[in-house]
C-alpha cells in the first residue's frame, strides 16, 4: 500500500511535469498546442544524444536544453503563431487556427526527428538505481523527476502568484482585453509564456528520457496525456495541474496493485470524466458563466 502510493506519487509527478508547460501555453498564450509532445520527444533525443555522445548527465543537460528550447519556442511563437493571434477575432477562431497550425507543426517536427533518428525505440540508463524510502524500494531517476517537478512547479507557482511579472501573466490568462487596459504588453507576455511553457516541456522530456523508452513517433501520447491533466486541473492553473497529475498517478498505481493492472487507464479516464462532470471547468478552474 505504501509502495503503491509512493509509486503513484512519482507517476503523478511525471504526469504533472509533462502537463505544466501546456497549462501555460494553453492557459495564457491561448495556443492549443498539438505539437507539444513532439517538443518533449525532441528534448528527450537531445538528452539521449548528450548522454551517449558526450557522457553528459541529463541534469547537466538541462542547462543546455532549457535555454535552447526557450529560444526555439519563442521563435516558433513569433514566426508561426503570432500572425494567427493577431488575425483571430475571437477566442474560438484562435483555437481552430492553433489546432490546425500546431497539427501541421507536429508533423514537421516528427518528420525531422524521423529523418534524423529513424523510427526505432531509444532508451538509456541513467540513475537507474534503487533508493530506499519509507522502507520501500523505488527508482532514483523517477524520484529525481518528481523532485524536479515539485521544484519547478513550486517555484513557478510562487513566481506567478508573488511577482509582478507573474501577476501580469495571470492577468493575461484571465482576460487579455482587460490586461491590455492596465498597460500589460499582452503580446509580449503571451510570447514569453509560450516559450516558458516550451522550456518546461523540454525539461520534462529530458527527465523522463532517463526512465521511459521513446521513439520519434511517440509524441502524441504525451500531448494527449498533458491535455487530459491540464483540462482536469483547470486550464492555466499550476496547482490544478499538480493535483490532477498526482490524482491520476496515485489512482493508477492503486488500481494496478489493488484491483487489476488491466484497468489502470480505464480508471484514469473514468476519473477524468467524472471530475469534468462534477466540475465542468476542472478541479481548479473558474466556471465560465
Amino acid at each position: 500500500m505504501t509502495n503503491a502510493i509512493l509509486t503513484g506519487l512519482m507517476l503523478g509527478g511525471m504526469y504533472a511535469l509533462i502537463a505544466m508547460g501546456l497549462t501555460l501555453q494553453y492557459g495564457v498564450a491561448r495556443i492549443m498546442n498539438l505539437s507539444y509532445g513532439e517538443v518533449l520527444i525532441a528534448a528527450a533525443f537531445g538528452a539521449q544524444g548528450l548522454f551517449t555522445g558526450w557522457a553528459l548527465s541529463p541534469f547537466a543537460g538541462l542547462a543546455f536544453v532549457i535555454p535552447v528550447a526557450f529560444l526555439l519556442n519563442l521563435a516558433i511563437y513569433r514566426v508561426l503563431l503570432s500572425p494567427l493571434v493577431r488575425r483571430a477575432r475571437t477566442r474560438d477562431a484562435l483555437e481552430v487556427d492553433s489546432i490546425l497550425a500546431t497539427f501541421g507543426l507536429a508533423f514537421i517536427l516528427q518528420g525531422i526527428m524521423l529523418s534524423m533518428f529513424g523510427g526505432a525505440y531509444y532508451s538509456y540508463s541513467y540513475l537507474a538505481s534503487p533508493v530506499h524510502l519509507f522502507g520501500e524500494t523505488i527508482a532514483a531517476n523517477r524520484l529525481a523527476a518528481l523532485a524536479v517537478c515539485i521544484l519547478l512547479g513550486g517555484s513557478l507557482y510562487l513566481a506567478l502568484t508573488q511577482t509582478r511579472g507573474g501577476t501580469a501573466i495571470r492577468a493575461v490568462a484571465v482576460d487579455p482585453a482587460a490586461a491590455q487596459l492596465v498597460a500589460i504588453d499582452v503580446a509580449r507576455t503571451a510570447a514569453f509564456t509560450f516559450a516558458l511553457g516550451g522550456a518546461l516541456v523540454a525539461s520534462a522530456g529530458v527527465l523522463i528520457s532517463t526512465f521511459l523508452t521513446f521513439s520519434a513517433t511517440s509524441g502524441v501520447v504525451f500531448t494527449m496525456k498533458a491535455l487530459i491533466v491540464v483540462v482536469m486541473g483547470g486550464v492555466g492553473n499550476m496547482l490544478g495541474c499538480l493535483v490532477a497529475g498526482l490524482l491520476l498517478g496515485v489512482s493508477e498505481a492503486l488500481v494496478a496493485s489493488l484491483i487489476d493492472p488491466g484497468l489502470t487507464l480505464a480508471v484514469n479516464f473514468a476519473l477524468f470524466l467524472v471530475v469534468l462532470l462534477v466540475k465542468p471547468a476542472g478541479l481548479f478552474g473558474r466556471a465560465s458563466r
Binding site: 525505440y121 540508463s125 511517440s218 493492472p261 488491466g262
Partner: protein
Amino acid sequence: MTTSTTRRALLLAAVLAAGAGFATAAAAQTSIKIGYVLSRTGPNTGGAAVTTLPNYEMWAKEVNDAGGIKLGEKRVPIEIVAYDDRSSAEEAVRGIERLINQDKVDFILPPWGTGLNLAVGPILAREGYPHLAATAVTDKAPELAKRWPNSFWLLGTSTGAAEALVDLLVKLRDEKKIGDTVAMVAIADGFGIDLSTAARPALTKAKFKLAYDKSYPIGTQDLAPIINDVKALNPDVFVAFSYPPDTLALTEQSRIAGFNPKIFYTGVGTAFPLFNQKFGKNTEGVMGIGGWSGDSAAIKDYLARHKAARNGAEPDRWASAVTYSSLQILQQAIERVGKVDRAAVIKELQTGSFDTVIGKVKFENNLPTRYWWVGQWQGGDFYGVAPAGNVGARAAIVPKPAWVAP
C-alpha cells in the same frame, strides 16, 4: 459468376496469345518491380523500423549489387516501390491495392505486424500474390494458410510459442533447477493476449502454479506496481508477453526492485540490440521470445552484413533474420521458376526447400517446421535455447545470475 470469370479468362488468354507474337512476358522483363507498404509513422513505426525496413532495404541493395534476380539466363534488377501505411489498416489495404493496380508491381513484401498482415491478406490472396508474413504471430495461422493458399506464416502460432516455453520450463523443473510457481503478465493487445491465453492451459496442464496472471493496457507508463506485486509472491518463473517499451521498463524495474527470479522471460524487444545497449552486463541470463542460432556461420555473416549496410546498427535476434530469410526464400522461388509467374512461385514456395540465414526452410501446409521460441542473453549476445531440438540450440543458463549495479 463462374461463367463471367471464365469468359474473362478466355478473353485474357486471347489477348495474351495475340501479344505472344511479339515477345513473351518473361523476355520483356527488364526489371522486377517489388512493392511494400510499411508503417513509417504512427505507433507501429518502432517495430517496423527495427525488424522490417532495414532488411527490405538491405536485401534490395544486395540483390541489385549482385546484378539482380536471375530470370532464366540473365539477371534482372529489382525496382522498389514503397508506401507508408501510417500504422492504419485502411491505409495498408489501400496501399496494397495501389501497388497492384496502379504500380502493377510483380511482387509484394508484407507490412509489419499481425494486424496489418491480416488486413492485407484477402487482397493478396484474391490477386494471387505470394504473401510471406514474417512478423505475424497468430493462432489462426494454419486456418489462414488454408483460406489463403498464397500465404506463409513464418513466425508460427502463439500456441507454439507458449508450448515451447512450457516444455522448457518442464524440463528445467525435472532437472530440479526451478520450482513450480509462475507469474505471468501480458500486454492487452492481440499479441499478448493470444500468447497468455495459450500459455495458461499449457502451464496448468504441466501442473505449474500460476501465482500471478494479469494484463496491462498499451501505453502503461509505470510497471512498478506489477513488479512489486510479483516480487512479493516470490515466483520461480516470471513470464511477460510484452512489447519493446514495456520489456525495457519491466526489466529495469525488476533490477531496481531486486526482483531476480530463476527464470526471467520477457516479450518483444528482449532480442533487440537496444536491450543490450541499455542493460549491458545485466542482460546475462535474461530470456525472451525469439532467438537465433548465433553460432552458425550464416547468422554471423548476416549480422556483419547488416551492421555494414545499416551504419553499425544491429538486427534484432529473432524476426529480423526471419524477415531476411523470407526475402531469400522469395528470391530463390522466383529464380527457380525463372519468370514472373506468381502462381508458379506460390507453388514453388509450397513445395520447395530453401537455403536461408536461418538454415534450411521447407513449408508444410504453408508453415515452417521449425521456430525459435525462447532465446537467452549469454555473454553479451542473444541465442536460441528452445525448442532444444533446433540446430544450434544452446543450453539455458538457469538460474539467472543476480542483477549487478550498472
